[in-house]
């Protein structure tokens, strides 16, 4: 067991986890701060072992459409990029969602807008959780905060994607992508066989319709009534996901007067601030959403009944705070502390901002 503990970057962990998951194909384009995903895959040469395809595409537009093509055939395929590249992928994401295709997309966020910076950010929260491309759609968004979760969420993301026939996104940032930590890699599992794909994905465009009618994967439906039916089917899936797949983690919330809400690496900076505050007898806690969509609305609503306020900390100008406020419904004050442009706040800064909004916490 001890042998299996590795020290690696979050980006490297994703690559290893993908191969071990039995991923069929990765298509990607280099962009800082996530290029190690493609680099690691190329170094691992999984085509020699599991048969996994790895291809450096000419652009993120091509990458996501290669994913679309591969996913259409029932294969477990993925891509990864960082913010500007993910913007380019939005067209393809909309098609993949509309085509009800399982796929995994990793966004190791950097600061924007525009070309922005290569330093960490969480400013793609809106894009990731509200759809991002054109049309009414969602996809499952998982927010890893450790290198271990970077590895674990690859399998979780794929499994959920196949369960609901929807794309899933790992929404990470430059911190958790670039940092090294201990990680226990998942047990390798074999890639799905053609028979398993035929059984699990009867919709797949396998190119072998011998014992079925041909499958057509299209997102086009010019008749409005039928297109509305397609939309209703998507929405029904989303309601199911909202009901079954909300994931979050709470720390010290039992007796907390003020609860932080933060995701990904920033949740860890908050946790450090909380540890320090607790050392001074200050009762603060943390709710860390693991799924950003579906959002832990109910749990936040429940907390709003017994805390004095909430502090949303993000690497952006205030995005997730909108969902927190929708959950709190005005019952307690909700404040935001955020840094932008790749600046990472330190625990003290987070703590000071919290005290300024909630002076009663001062002992």
């Amino acid at each position: 067991m001890k042998e299996e503990v590795k020290l690696m970057k979050g980006n490297e962990a994703i690559a290893h986890a993908a191969v071990r998951y039995g991923c069929d194909g990765y298509f990607g384009y280099p962009i800082t701060p996530q290029s190690e995903v493609l680099e690691t895959l190329e170094a691992l040469m999984p085509w020699e072992t599991t048969g996994m395809v790895v291809l450096q595409a000419e652009s993120e537009v091509a990458s996501i459409n290669m994913v679309y093509g591969g996913a259409s055939t029932g294969k477990a395929v993925m891509t990864s990029s960082s913010s500007p590249g993910i913007s380019l992928m939005q067209e393809g994401m909309s098609y993949i969602a509309a085509g009800e295709l399982p796929a995994l997309v990793v966004n190791v966020m950097r600061g924007g807008p525009g070309l922005g910076t290569i330093q960490p950010s969480q400013s793609d929260y809106f894009q990731a959780t509200k759809g991002g491309g054109h049309g009414d759609y969602h996809y499952i968004v998982l927010a890893p905060s450790t290198v271990q979760e970077m590895a674990d969420f690859v399998a979780l993301g794929f499994d959920l994607a196949f369960k609901y026939r929807t794309p899933a996104m790992l929404l990470a940032d430059g911190i958790v992508g670039q940092m090294m930590e201990k990680v226990v890699l998942p047990e390798p599992r074999p890639r799905r066989t053609a028979e398993e794909i035929a059984r699990q994905c009867p919709w797949a465009v396998t190119g072998n319709p011998s014992d079925r009618k041909p499958n057509v994967l299209t997102t086009l439906e010019l008749e409005s009534d039928k297109m509305e039916v397609n939309n209703r089917r998507l929405q029904a899936t989303y309601r199911q996901i909202e009901q079954n797949e909300v994931r979050y983690q709470e720390y010290f919330t039992d007796d907390a007067e003020v609860v932080f809400v933060a995701f990904g690496s920033i949740a860890r900076i908050c946790l450090k601030a909380i540890e320090d505050a607790r050392g001074q007898g200050i009762k603060v806690g943390l709710l860390r959403p693991i799924t950003l969509w579906p959002f832990p609305t109910e749990e936040i609503s429940r907390l709003a009944n017994r805390v004095k306020g909430m502090m949303v900390v993000e690497l952006n100008a205030g995005q997730m705070i909108e969902d927190v406020k929708l959950a709190v419904e005005g019952r307690v004050p909700v404040y935001h502390y955020g840094r932008m442009g790749g600046v990472i706040p330190n625990p003290q800064e987070v703590f000071d901002a919290t005290l300024s909004h909630f002076p009663f916490l001062k002992k």
Partner: protein
Amino acid sequence: MKTEIIAAGFGGQGVLSMGKILAYAGLIDDLEVTWMPSYGPEQRGGTANVTVVISDKPISSPVLDSYDTAVVLNQQSLDKFEPKVKPGGSLIYDPYGIHRLPTRTDINIYPVAAMDAAMELKSAKSYNMIILGALLKINPIVSIESVMTGLKKTLPERHHHLLPANREAISRGMELI
């Protein structure tokens, strides 16, 4: 036991890999570790830094505002991180190229003439291992054995002949304290 370290210097001085060796040794000693680099253009000649946390308990934040130990290998890093050493903590610096010396009195300050030592050893590449030796003498966070095991595991076989030189550099660093 938890040690929070920042190592900073010019790109090419080997601070990131020194941090990595330290983190890897922590892993071998069955401790929790995080290694968080500054990344990007800094890696190519500018100022690079890495935050390493080694603890016997799970580590919350990989990003910190104060450090138990700061290893600073150029003036810029000294200016930036001297104020961020916790009272009672340690500041390790190489006087080579330093014109404004550290001034704090509430921390332990260790000048380590590692550049001179590396030149004596005729091995510029051993620079960061000399620094590591000094660091481990001051604060034996991980064992030298684990450092060497880690090096052996992470270095490709063709570089294994360099292991004795690395061990020597660590010893040299320890002697400088």
